[in-house]
């Protein structure tokens, strides 16, 4: 295992300490390992929190700040955080206007967030939750755990955070988050596996001429293993199911998000974006906003994910609104 770490068991704590050292003007770190916006709670503002396993940086801790999250709860690497964290975060950010939990759809995340929400409500906090489940690689069904929450989460946190910053109430913020979920779809692929520090070896073996299509963000194998293909072919394998699923139709305006999984350089992501833009154009889908880079990662995994969000004026307005976090910043 080749990583810039000291001891596997200290990765999350030391990274948090480094984040705090690098961004003391944005965040504070409180027990039990929660990242809280420096000036939270803000009078009258709805609190927006999220959380999940570590190893996806900058998500979620890097999105704590003005116009995005009020707090983030990082679990162990790839392991949902514990209810104590979400309870503490909810209390830390609730100004009395209530708190929205943005939850990625994983059994563990759902259960831990639900437990925390119950405890918080028992202590008199108004809490709502929206589950992000945007991964079209997973067939949805009543009888399964359903789709994973992936790239759409980043967009939801930005847009919902802007609405909360603008003073929207809990019901409005919650409905807006659901609206993002209803209009966003994603799919990812991997060229390499990744190594959970505590595990010490790659989660899966893969040959030099193979790739995994339909992976999530936890180093898990994907829906299928394929022979390595060109960037254009790979982009089609990801974007076609996304476009067909919602479906995105001619005349739609979209935000196109090409995300790196951690080990893939920007130069390759732009090659993927190039093909994605051609595909959208060919279908009459207009990209009016874009995001290209590593925002929701899977440790050092090489690969990418594509996310499309159908935009209307409201979503566009909140996407464009100022945001000032360590991981995403503009207009401020």
């Amino acid at each position: 295992m080749k990583k810039l770490i000291n001891a596997p068991e200290n990765v999350v704590d030391e990274a948090l300490a480094g984040m705090l050292a690098a961004h003391p003007d944005y965040i504070r770190v409180e027990e039990p390992n929660i990242v809280v916006r420096k000036d939270a709670p803000r009078a009258g503002k709805v609190g927006v929190i999220s959380g999940g396993g570590s190893g996806h940086e900058p998500m979620h801790g890097g999105f704590v700040g003005m116009g995005m999250l009020d707090a983030a709860c990082p679990g162990a690497v790839f392991t949902s955080p514990v209810p104590d964290q979400m309870l503490a975060a909810t209390k830390a950010v609730d100004s009395g206007a209530g708190v929205l939990h943005i939850v990625k759809n994983y059994t563990g995340d759902i259960m831990n967030f639900e437990m925390a929400a119950e405890m918080a409500r028992a202590e008199g906090h108004e809490v709502t939750a929206v589950v992000i489940a945007d991964d079209v690689a997973v067939k949805d069904s009543l009888y399964t755990a359903g789709r994973r929450g992936v790239g759409g989460t980043v967009l939801a946190e930005k847009i919902v955070g802007a609405a909360a910053e603008a003073g929207a109430d809990l019901a409005t913020v919650t409905a807006l988050c659901q609206k993002v979920q209803d209009n966003v779809r994603s799919m990812g692929m991997a060229l390499t596996s990744c190594t959970v520090p505590m595990a010490g070896k790659p989660t899966f073996e893969i040959a030099d001429d193979e790739m995994e299509i339909g992976v999530g963000i936890h180093g898990e194998p994907g829906r299928s293993r394929e022979k390595l293909a060109t960037a254009d072919e790979i982009t089609e394998m990801l974007a076609t199911p996304i476009l067909d699923d919602l479906p995105f139709a001619a005349g739609d305006n979209v935000l196109a998000f090409v995300n790196g999984l951690g080990g893939t350089p920007l130069v390759e992501l732009y090659i993927v974006y190039n093909k994605l833009a051609q595909m959208c154009a060919a279908r009459g889908v207009t990209i009016i906003r874009s995001l290209v880079g590593n925002y929701i990662t899977s440790l050092e995994m090489a690969g990418c994910s594509i996310t499309l969000l159908r935009l209307d004026d409201e979503l566009t307005k909140y996407w464009d609104a100022p945001v000032n976090t360590p991981g995403l910043r503009w207009g401020a």
């Binding site: 514990v82 104590d84 994983y106 059994t107 259960m111 997973v138 399964t144 505590m198």
Partner: protein, 215 residues
Amino acid sequence: MSTASSISYDDVVAWVKLVAERVHAEREHLTDLDSAIGDADHGINMDRGFTAVVAKLPALPVGDVGALLKGVGMTLVSTVGGASGPLYGTLFLQLGGGTAGKAEIELADFATALDAGIAGIQRLGKAEPGDKTMLDALLPAREALHVGLDRGDTPSAALDAAVAAAEQGMVATIPLVARKGRASYLGERSAGHQDPGATSSHLLLKAAADAFYGA
């Protein structure tokens, strides 16, 4: 009244410690199973949780089986995370609820408490038998336990039967296509691998048999 087959407070402490020991020993195996169809952390999660439990033991009220098991459950909930944290946490919280205030329990009490614990897991996780989860080990075990007790088997025999059923259920998860948990994301590819949680559930029950009635 206390019988030779009663499970004492110390037996329960011994059980918890034995589980911690074996989870630690099986950590890599459980994580490898989770690597195949999950995210390579089940052994790490369980080890983190039960290490915390053992550290917590001295702080738990002595002599009260229920309080002890509640403490274990709360510690698991607060330290494991993932899917297994709330699930095993609930299991132990319910075991504690069903044995509250008792200095020692009979296997029948344990069985009833286990019913509640498994019900809690189902409430929380909404999994069905055959979904390729820990329930595929726990449900057959519970079944066998009750059959044995109703039939008047010795507690030791009844619990051994439960462990055997759990092991069968665990192995039976191999061909299953997962419908719950991370493994479900793999679809057909999840078949051919043993479920990590079913494996840790079998470990839990085997440790109980060894701790309660001597290995």
